[in-house]
């Protein structure tokens, strides 16, 4: 319900502008902004593969976190067994993390 209400609000606010606001389109105005220069080529260029790397690593660690949540919630019932189990899980992933670090995939320069 909150999602629906939020969506409705977003659409109304964005569209109200189209109704109330003026519309005087000129050639200059709808040109892409580039500090007053004529735009050079398009912005749809290829960009650094590093952003892709970050996204891949994010997915993998996100899945790790997803596993941590049910573990944390039922930690008290699981006790020592739960701790050991998660420690092994985290250790294997930490090996991966150290590998990423050593390979320099986390460097931004």
């Amino acid at each position: 319900m909150m999602l629906a209400a939020a969506a409705a609000f977003a659409v109304i606010m964005a569209k109200i502008n189209e109704i109330v606001g003026p519309r005087r389109e000129t050639d200059e105005k709808v040109t892409t902004y580039e500090s007053g220069m004529e735009p050079v080529r398009t912005a749809r260029e290829r960009f650094s593969v590093k952003y892709y790397m970050v996204a891949v690593l994010f997915i993998l660690f996100d899945i790790e976190i997803v596993f941590l949540y049910p573990w944390a919630v039922s930690f008290r019932q699981l006790g020592l067994h739960g701790f050991v189990v998660m420690f092994v899980f985290m250790f294997v992933l930490l090996v991966g993390f150290v590998y990423v670090w050593r390979k320099g995939a986390l460097e931004w320069d």
């Binding site: 749809r44 260029e45 290829r46 960009f47 593969v49 590093k50 952003y51 892709y52 790397m53 996204a55 891949v56 690593l57 994010f58 997915i59 993998l60 996100d62 899945i63 790790e64 997803v66 596993f67 949540y69 049910p70 573990w71 919630v73 039922s74 019932q77 699981l78 067994h81 739960g82 189990v85 998660m86 092994v88 899980f89 985290m90 294997v92 992933l93 090996v95 991966g96 993390f97 590998y99 990423v100 390979k103 995939a105």
Partner: protein, 170 residues
């Protein structure tokens, strides 16, 4: 009609519509957006089944993480329009149509043969097993081995990703 069945119809309709739009749109980014909407509809369906954890994971992992990568890749490859990829009726399309048809038949067959037992699958037990607590206590005891193996799988994926990207980095 109960509230639940109304919700089911709404989510199913959104899911189907977004799936159709996903495959028919020209612009890959817009297709990706419809896929995200589709994931939300799926999450809604999980919610009607009282599988709250799965519903949230659907959004957190699929819509929030994997699709970010998809969008990045679409941007990275700079596919302005799929027109450049357009191809005629090749053997790929024939193959794809054949596989889809086979899957459809399979689904219809399953629905025809087991339709009777479907509705009673959602008694009080369903609300019990869908919670995070229940998943936590099962996952780390009964399903311990698959869980630990997952960490190895994830690490392998990390190494693979680095190896693939490293060629481009150097």
């Amino acid at each position: 009609m109960t509230l639940e069945s109304i919700l089911f119809i709404v989510f199913a309709a959104v899911g189907l519509a977004s799936a159709l739009l996903l495959v028919t749109r020209r612009n890959p980014i817009i297709s990706a957006l419809y896929l995200i909407l589709n994931f939300f509809a799926l999450a809604g369906l999980y919610l009607t089944l009282h599988a709250q954890f799965i519903a949230v994971i659907q959004i957190l992992v699929y819509a929030g993480a994997i699709m970010v990568l998809f969008v990045f890749v679409i941007m990275l490859l700079n596919l302005r329009d799929e027109r450049s990829l357009r191809e005629g009726l090749s053997w790929k399309k024939v193959f794809a149509a054949g596989v889809s048809f086979g899957l459809l038949m399979e689904v219809i067959y399953i629905l025809m043969t087991s339709a009777s037992g479907m509705t009673e699958l959602l008694p009080a037990k369903a609300t019990e097993i869908g919670t995070v607590e229940a998943i936590g206590s099962r996952l780390f005891t009964r399903f311990l081995f698959p869980f630990e193996v997952t960490s190895v799988l994830l690490t392998a994926a990390i190494v693979g990703a680095i190896l693939l990207a490293k060629k481009k980095l150097d």
